[in-house]
Symmetry: C2
Subunit: 348 residues, 2 copies
DNA sequence: GCGTTTTATGTTATCGCTATCATTAACACG
DNA sequence: CGTGTTAATGATAGCGATAACATAAAACGC
């Protein structure tokens, strides 16, 4: 059994109405319809009204893929983030969308699960849609991905990182420096025996840089060697944070402060402490990274590093748009450094 | 100052290479290139190799917008969720993406911030891209949105709800029933004085239905009248949950159990209790909705209602694809009811 | 070996829109 | 009133791919 499809507007040939149908119906040329639909201002008030009446009566909807073929502007911007489930990255995606909305560009969003191979495939798939610009997360890409991006001849913004070898433009911060700053801040409060909880693999480059920043700060300050627990593939979940905390406590019971690769794992670690009856920060202190909502709301509240995720998205989109509008007059290779800020709370 | 753009592949006219350039370079017709690129199997091995060599040498990337104009298949599926920052909805988006990936369709994702007006605008913007199907959240839409969708003549799947008047297909569950079930489960454990924390406005229709389910279960069971705290516009944050919990405790100190519209607000409420030194569930019990990661990880763990968010996305995408492939042989108006399950944990 | 099928390739005509140029009408000004 | 200028509209020719049909070459059957 099947239902009939609902009644649809059709032109005389039984097809979906096109701009030519609208033009005929309104008694004008299709150029006038096109102009009316993009508010070109070169259509008289009366004509415009007749056109919109015809559009309404026929239920016409502009076909942008046809339009972009002719105008060579697709109105797309592509963006790839590691994950859309992580609220840090979805904040960035939201920032991009909100900023693009003002410009009439539409976002083509994808996530690569922290894999550069998947990123390469996604880049290829997206370039086939001829985006006018592309926003990536991080500065590590496959060779083929780099080549494709260069060939595409569109502006690229790398975010969330400071790539050693940027493709084009960058909006980000140093994950290593941010983590260093956190360690130094905590060392300033008197903590000496540090542990670090992060992911295992090499996939999460931001996580790796945070770990590197942790290690270099520890040795720079001449503190006892950092105790590092690596746990699972990214993203490190709350549950994994809890388990890793168990590892820290059993291996190095005298640890004074634990820093986690993100607030999510830090929260898991915090909960594990509570389950074991440990008092945070009295028995052991905990700090996270990313300043997620949860860090400001849990009890005790988590010390964290605020990185302006939403702002990263907005800035990246704005920079991309500026370049799209005026490719020659933009300072390519310019770096936009976003703010990082230690947010000290009760957990340390 | 500006840098030169990186060297890009160009055809003799100085344009980006097209399929015709590839064809010329490989000494074949562009139809063969087209066929080779879509693995039609109707290209000999030697020709195929020559073509891919040419593609590689020229750095050619297929232009899908040109292709879809001719083939009348864009390869797009549109989806609108209320928010991409809420992990329940981003799980659904992930489910959609993961399922679509197998089919070669690409997702055009947008969020409407719980607003049907914004949804209407987004639907129009997306229909201009001629998606082959569209996935919506909830069953409430503006009249114009409904009309546009019917006119579009593409399959529609409404999710996360059981619309009173479905447009086409539905993959969802009854938010009211799910909440009722939670109330009855808790009543079965002996709780009698219930409070409810949810959003203020009429925007979040799922939230409203949960509240309705709460109220009807309370009165159906003959329990003391439910105490409802409405708080802010959706999405209700952790912080708002905490504040609302303060309201419950000051207005009705004898409340035995508080149910929240989502786990996020429930977590905020839980933290507020901890800050006030109240023991959960001994002094007051708390339950949430959505079975977010945090519910399973906080301390005490939160009782919640598991709705299979990821699965909703997968099923919706699968159903949409089936309809796209075979519009006539699909049972339109068929309803796919997804599972709901009470997850009892230590908080109640 | 000859007709028949299958496989591989090419030719042509769009798809639905917009850029570009051409045209007409309306208006201003000395 | 003629000329120049601006505003409003139309005609035409693609944009870059694919559908549909046509053809050539190879494989097959008896």
């Amino acid at each position: 059994m099947h239902m009939n499809k609902p009644e649809q507007p059709r032109n005389p040939d039984g097809q979906m109405p096109t701009m030519a149908d609208v033009a005929r119906h309104a008694g004008v040329s299709s150029m006038s319809v096109s102009r009316a639909l993009k508010n070109s201002g070169l259509v008289s008030q009366t004509t415009r009204e007749r056109i919109f009446k015809a559009i309404d009566e026929l239920g016409y909807v502009l076909d942008l893929s046809a339009g972009s073929l002719s105008s060579k502007r697709t109105g797309f911007v592509a963006a790839i983030v590691p994950s859309i489930n992580n609220s840090n990255f979805s904040d960035t995606a939201r920032g991009i969308t909100d900023e693009l909305e003002k410009t009439g560009l539409q976002l083509l969003l994808a996530y690569n699960d922290y894999s550069v191979e998947r990123e390469e495939r996604l880049i290829e798939a997206m370039l086939r849609r001829r985006p006018e610009g592309i926003i990536l997360t991080g500065g590590i890409h496959t060779d083929r991905a780099r080549r494709m991006l260069e060939n595409a001849g569109i502006p690229v913004v790398e975010t969330w990182d400071l790539p050693a070898n940027p493709i084009d433009q960058v909006v980000g911060f140093s994950n290593a420096d941010a983590m260093s700053l956190l360690v130094r801040t905590l060392a300033g409060k008197g903590y000496r025996k540090f542990a670090y909880i992060g992911g295992t693999t090499e996939r999460d480059t931001r996580g790796n840089q945070r770990r590197a920043g942790f290690q270099s700060a520890i040795s720079g300050l001449g503190l006892p060697e950092g105790r590092v627990v690596s746990f699972g593939v990214p993203p490190i979940s709350m549950e994994q944070g809890a388990q890793a905390m168990g590892g820290v406590l059993s291996q190095w019971p005298d640890t004074e402060v634990v820093i986690c690769v993100s607030d999510l794992s830090a929260f898991g670690a915090l909960m594990e402490c509570q389950r074991r009856g440990l008092s945070v920060p009295k028995d052991i202190a905990i700090a996270g990274f990313g300043n997620y909502e949860i860090a400001a709301c849990c009890h005790p509240r988590l010390t964290s590093v605020d990185i302006e995720c939403y702002e990263i998205g907005r800035l990246a989109a704005r920079k991309l748009f500026a370049t799209i509008q005026n490719p020659e007059h933009v300072n390519r290779r310019e770096l936009v450094l976003t703010n990082i800020r230690i947010v000290e709370r009760e957990s340390t």
